[in-house]
Symmetry: C2
Subunit: 403 residues, 2 copies
């Protein structure tokens, strides 16, 4: 990918033209922390979206899936602290009311408001607090408070996650802004993660949906925190067209440029999520190449990224390639032990299935780093895949023991 | 299953007639702990066996698979501390030499000796120590030292694992004895676990193989410690016929009785493995019923048993059924949220996908116990499955961080 865009310092969802946002505490969380955010476009925005593949979908996911199908939208109301999942018909009623009340106060249609929730499962929303919160947050949004909205969607995240970049399309300046929340429960095919991406680019609807899907595939679906996928995962891309470029569609000369930029934004967010994984101490990029097929390469990287034994050894800074071999062997992929090479940051540890002469002390130095790569070459074909994964730590268990 | 057998107090692999065993330290482990065992039958024994499904198989597994195919055997030489896995051609040579030297000293054929190794992967066996050990252990075996052999195959196990029972076949007393080692890396389809089962029953070869397979399926394949399966898993059943019963074969009136007893022995060992899982604090039986198919029931129980989020909540004694719903939803099984019931020790927590009126304090009391059941009823069909699983603890991570 050629880089023909620039990051915007302190960029956020309000960096593109015509987007307002804000965040407030409304009492869903017991801590007084911010727990409600609103993102709103000054005019209609086309929307691209991907939702969790989990069969147990939270009420706001079901509602937003329906709203997205109806055409352009105006905004997203988000809350943290409660997922509104496994809450039955009451949950649907509550999600609808969140959209309804927001729409009414903002003077738009209910269908034009999307809803995202994240937090504990199985507890009905405290609707009194939610109503009060919505009435308050609509007054707090403005064209610079993207970073505040990002804070309001955090759950076990330790830092808020935003970014933005600018690029030129037909000589027009176009901006893409973003916020997300992640932490635990992240695995290929999203997880308890919410991401809202805004852009002032004009883009045709089907094209936006396709680009969204492809960018998610290359970013959020390539990370793993703990192998769990959640009931609430949502990625939304809102494009309001205020940049005034010729609308992006198949055949547009700058389509590839925009597509790359969108991918960079999502990959940046995805990396932020892994680096802020619950209690983590190491981030490892697992690169599988030379597999019999891409599907096989994916199986291996996912087996490794799920193995508590492998991930514990990363935590301890142990270059334990035997556990990588073990995970590879039960992944379901084709493997010929005697052909396997394994590298840590490019330094060979295993050659043809056997320990290499590389001194263990050199490997130990690499796995002591906070971030490094492990490359597995199977020498069987052209299949490759890569995943960004973190380690399993005592702290992860401690953080996830209680509510 | 009707119970028509009795447990033998302090029973072991030497409880059946004609089996000798013993264990010694030979210096493979750096700690001076026992690390070599020999199990030997006074006469030829038919053998039933199952081996790891991991594509990366240790040298002793490859060798034993071959030896088993050749007909009756006489004994098994076992070591702990080194898995002789990912050791290439040298590993095969070393495993062969272990069988060869044992056979020579015991006056039998090499093909009649099976080999089991367990421990760290990727390090060649210290053959000087191994040879010395074999020369020593052949002199130490006797008809009562089964418990000593069980100690010599431990790795991160905290207790040695043996049992034995007696039953009547055609009015003859028949004994089944057993030892195994487990701890980490246990998941459906075995794991770094070795089990040797001995019996003085006479049983026809194909029947023994079938009963072994079925009993493993109902025991070792129904437990999960950390979702990993290893390079070395082996279950061996040796039957030397010294009880003098009419040989068990298809159609034998007491075949079912023997089959049940064999299953009980393996289930007892399997439970011992889970209860001694690395650093565990809770043992949970996950029972899935009413699934659309047994395959679906299995998918759900395996997704739950692999989820670090679910297993961390067990550690903390948190009746977090939302995470169970989440794991069910991404398991790949058919699920209709509004039909799902969830019980803790028979007490209803979720009814029709929604929180039940059962007070949380009552559920909290159950999940504080060391051992309890979780039942998920999907109300979709007749598929059921159950798995015995332990929790994920800080101690597990600590134990697996280093070598």
């Amino acid at each position: 990918m050629s880089i023909d865009w620039v990051w915007i310092k302190n960029g956020s969802v309000t960096s593109p033209m015509g987007f307002r946002a804000g965040g407030i505490p409304c009492g869903i969380k017991k801590t007084n922390a911010r727990d409600m955010a609103l993102l709103f476009s000054d005019c209609e925005a086309e929307v691209g979206a991907t939702f969790t593949t989990n069969l147990i979908k939270a009420a706001p996911v079901k509602l937003s899936m329906q709203h997205v199908r109806g055409g352009p939208v105006r905004g997203v109301i988000l809350n943290s602290g409660n997922a509104n999942a496994c809450t039955g018909l009451q949950g649907i009623t509550d999600a609808k009311e969140m959209a309804e009340l927001t729409a009414e106060l903002m003077g738009v249609k209910r269908r034009e408001i999307l809803v995202c929730s994240t937090g504990r499962i199985g507890v009905p929303l405290p609707m009194e607090a939610v109503r009060k919160g919505i009435r308050k947050v609509v007054k707090k949004i403005n064209h610079v408070s993207g970073p505040v909205a990002a804070k309001a969607i955090m759950t076990s995240d330790t830092v808020s996650k935003t970014c933005a970049l600018a690029l030129q399309l037909n000589g027009r300046r176009v901006v893409i802004g973003a916020m997300c929340k992640g932490a635990g429960m992240i695995h290929p095919n999203m997880a308890t993660m919410l991401a809202c991406i805004t852009t002032d680019a004009a883009i045709e609807r089907e094209t936006l949906q396709r680009l969204t899907y492809e960018a998610v595939e290359a970013s959020f679906n390539r990370i793993s925190v703990d192998g769990d996928t959640s009931t609430n995962d949502t990625v939304l891309v809102l494009a309001n067209g205020l940049a005034g470029n010729a609308p992006l569609a198949t055949g547009h000369r700058d389509l590839g440029k925009f597509q790359n930029a969108l991918k960079w934004v999502m990959q940046k967010l995805a990396r932020m999520i892994v680096e802020d994984g619950e209690g983590i101490s190491h981030v490892v990029e697992v690169i599988v190449q030379g597999a019999a097929s891409s599907a096989d390469a994916r199986r291996i990287s996912e087996a490794i990224s799920r193995s508590p034994l492998v991930k514990s050894s990363w935590c301890g800074g142990d270059p334990n390639w035997g556990r990588l071999m073990g995970a590879m062997g039960y992944s379901g992929a084709k493997v010929r032990e005697e052909l396997v090479d394994i590298y840590y940051n490019g330094l060979i540890a295993v050659k043809g299935g056997l320990v290499s002469p590389t001194p263990r002390s050199k490997l130990a130095k690499i796995v002591a780093k906070r971030s490094y790569t492990i490359t597995l070459d199977l020498h069987l074909g052209k299949g490759d895949y890569r995943l960004l994964v973190n380690d399993l730590t005592e702290k992860y268990v401690t953080l996830n023991k209680g509510e």
